[in-house]
Symmetry: C2
Subunit: 133 residues, 2 copies
């Protein structure tokens, strides 16, 4: 359980690849080829990364993608959230007044604690940590 979508795994590999380029930009096709990711599928992923501000893009000839920030300042949490949304074990974790049990709901506290644990782990590792040995 708690498996990570292919989309997110692809995104991490794409980001890692960009991190190795030292600021140079790469086209979606180049990344797809280098990382063995379905080319057309990756296009959509790169768009999501763009929307979230994790990469910058340029269109037209000689266009492509580059990291929008230093690998050391891009958290894994930001990548994961860009594709699959925020960590939410159960739907009520962010619905403040929605719990019929009120603010003392113990299960809800339990799930929020899990979310916090995951967010903390993902938030304190960066793309640099995962990319470099």
């Amino acid at each position: 359980m708690f498996s990570v979508s292919a989309k997110t795994q692809y995104a991490i590999r794409a980001m890692s690849y960009l991190a190795t380029l030292g600021g140079r930009s790469a086209t979606s096709a180049e990344i797809a080829s280098a990382e063995s990711i379905p080319s057309k599928y990756l296009e959509g992923i790169m768009s999501l990364l763009k929307t979230s501000g994790l990469v910058d893009s340029e269109r037209g000839k000689h266009g492509g993608y580059r990291l929008a920030a230093d690998p050391a300042s891009i958290t894994m949490l930001s990548i994961v959230e860009a594709l699959d949304g925020s960590v939410k074990p159960v739907t009520c974790v962010d619905a403040i007044g929605s719990c019929a049990q009120g603010q003392g709901c113990q299960p809800r506290k339990f799930w929020i604690g899990l979310k916090d644990a995951i967010d903390e782990y993902l938030g304190e590792r960066t793309l640099k940590d995962v990319t470099e040995g």
Copy 2:
């Protein structure tokens, strides 16, 4: 992302309900009614809990389910694993030699670390913690 299946949430509620009975047994139908869980669906869930040794069951008239252990010694991890399997963000976390990158694969270490963080959180809370206020 990382949402918990309805099956697991149902299971936790069913286990919580059993925990309130102080050792008395309850039928699947009673639990379903008390917790507003689809009755037939819950039957299958109880079977899984039985297989995992979390509950004991008796068939026939006056049959039913009871907790197999004290709520304080049933970890949330054991419940979650009974239904959705072990925490496995990516498939390679437990495939020792399967990583083409060898033992130094950094992404794999990252995912294993996430698994460990989740397992630790779930492993150190018990049914008692979640059931009681």
